[in-house]
Amino acid sequence: MQSNDEPEIGGPGVLGVEFRQLLEDSPVANYLCDAEGKLTYFNKAAVKLWGRTPSLGKEYWCGSWKIFYPDGKPMPLEEIPIAKVLKKGSREEGSEIRIECPDGSSKFLLVFPKPIFAKDGRLEGVHSTLVDITDQKRDHIKKETLSAIVQSSDDAIVSKNLQGIIASWNRGAQEIFGYTEEEVVGRSITLLIPEERLSEEDVILDKIKRGIKIDHFETIRRHKSGREIPVSITVSPVKDSAGNIVGASKVARDITARLESQAAMEKYIRNLETLNTVGKSISENLDVQGILQRVTDATTKLTGAAFGAFFYNNLDDRGNTFQLFTLSGAPREIFDHMAMPRHTDLFLPTFRDRKVVRVDDITKHKDFGKNAPYKGMPKGHFSVVSYLAIPVISKNGNVIGGLLYGHPEAGKFTAEHELLVLNIAAQAAVSLDNSRLFEQVKSLSEKKDEFIALASHELKTPLTTIKGYLQVLSKKKADKISQLFLDKSLCQVDKLNTLVEDLLNMSRIESGQLNFNLEVFDIREMLKEIIETFSYSSQSHRVTEKLWNDSVIIEGDRQRIEQAILNLMTNAIKYSPKADEIFVELEVVGENVVVKVRDMGIGLTGEQRRQLFTRFYRAEDTQGISGLGLGLYLTKQIIDRHGGKIEVNSEYGKGSEFSLILPLAVQNFKKVNAYRKY
């Protein structure tokens, strides 16, 4: 730096003192370098800009702390604009640099270096002006970023003024609506709105003017081609820096895909519900006709067929291979004249090969109409163009039959329909199998009952005769031996009769046919009679009794309860062949009557106790003890049906005690006396 007041090189002095002050006070940063690049002068604005005060005469090129390219790369010294100017000796137009200040802040500057020449043309130095464009730069970057965002969005982002004139249009808008930016900017937004919805724009503008945002409004707009597009739009007011609403920005999203998937979901749910309902009613039903009709109706509806039918895979007596069983959507008379599906290529795949057949247009199928006398479908009523056939396959792999559907329009049946019907067909097949089994079982069961009823009747007939004559003989005073033999024979006849009765009763109980004759009677009286008869007839055992000391009134089938008690007592004797006594007790416990029959016989093991009341059960070591094993089973059934209980307490080798528990009759004594039977 030349340190004098009379500058010879192009210093401020050249300009004159006024200009020097002007420069000093200028808000724009200015500085000077000599021919070597040393800083010779800088103004206040430069200091402010640099954030530091350089040392004059010591620093070169620029007062900034650090210099970078605008993209952030450090700038090498020779690239600094002033250096370049000095080197080249010519102006460099406004180049952009980035500087960093000591406090860490960075700024973007435009540099305008200008070479200063002496009168003799010698380069004396550089005058540089710096303009701080940091804010503009930032704004610019922001704008570019925003612009990129708007442009890259798949949604339509459109701005309009308060008259609805389009001001901006992004790439997303072009994709969705089909118009380019040029075609649309400056035109009214109503271009996109279908006629019937034009009033929406008034509502929207009105809200915007009042500062209200419209959020996710679902509506329809129009593509350039005229096609309608379902969209969801959000419109927000745009304000200027003063806060006045100057327009609106609108984001629109094409929701066609969403609506479609929603519709598909709803349809799927509906189908599931139908499947579920149909499935339930199919599985609840055991009647074949009902099942098939329901299946035919439901599937005809689901597929949208004009008619549907189920054909059994049977041979009827006319030799037709398939037999129409249920029909939906058309009156049966039509089918009487119509072709039963024959062995044609069309139907065979379904009935023989278990294939699903779906034909969009059956009139184009090679086999159509060739089978006389059924040429084509019956005239007059409807025609079949779309065709769908689904086999109904039993669990063991047999084709039970086929579900066939028809529609007069082509291409009505889809892969989805196939799936739905297959699903229902599978359930129906299970149901049909069950139904057949059930029918078979029921039929067998009925046959069994019929047989037992018949057999028992037949068996009793000769017994009647045998018993009759034996009794007659018994009355004629014969010798002791003959009398003994007659008695034994009569005993056996009674035994046989009991066996037959047991068999019949068991069958009746199973099929729920056993009827009780209910009476109110005194069970103590009954027991007394039974014990007396028993004591008289039993040769081997005596009966020790312990009876309640008052009348005990119950309600029940007298004969059957008597049977039950007799059965227990007979067993007690039977299963204690080595003892000579059995015990019978009667007591009242709470609201119940308890009859106990105890023996000191062979007793029961835990296993035997568990199985005791099942049908046909006989304890293993009962060789030589006869019977069918039905007695206890029947006894239990009878007592259970009276609302009572039968229990056994037993120890193997020591004996058994059977308890018969029955509810007391809920009657007061007066009434009871009136009902008493003697």
Binding site: K467, Q471, V472, V493
Partner: protein, 116 residues
């Protein structure tokens, strides 16, 4: 002498009954079927009817109903017989006995019905 009509399809039982009742001094007429029975009744009527329920061409209960519904036979006692103990005291019959019956019991019941 009291007369008894018996309807019973089984030969064995029919013979037994004939023997039993005749031994008690009753006059007995037997019919194997309902049809045979209707050929005679109601032109001829007895003092008591003894009817089997299961018949090849009919049902003792129906016979009983018909007899009780007809003026000529209404007052004549009817005793029903059956192998099935359940069908008891039905349809207006005066008494009922189960097969195989006890001979004494049968005779007692018949006697009781004839006495009333």
């Amino acid at each position: 002498m009291k007369e008894i009509f018996i309807v019973e399809d089984d030969d064995g039982i029919r013979e037994l009954l004939e023997f039993l009742l005749e031994s008690q001094q009753y006059v007995v007429k037997t019919f194997p079927t309902a049809r045979a029975f209707y050929k005679t009744v109601p032109e001829k009527v007895p003092d008591l009817f003894l009817l089997d329920i299961m018949l090849p061409d009919g049902n003792g209960v129906d016979l009983c109903r018909a007899l009780k519904g007809s003026a000529e036979t209404r007052s004549i006692p009817v005793v029903l017989m059956s192998a099935h103990a359940d069908i008891s005291r039905t349809e207006g019959a005066d008494d009922f006995i189960a097969k195989p019956f006890d001979v004494d019991e049968l005779l007692q019941r018949i006697e009781k019905q004839l006495a009333s």
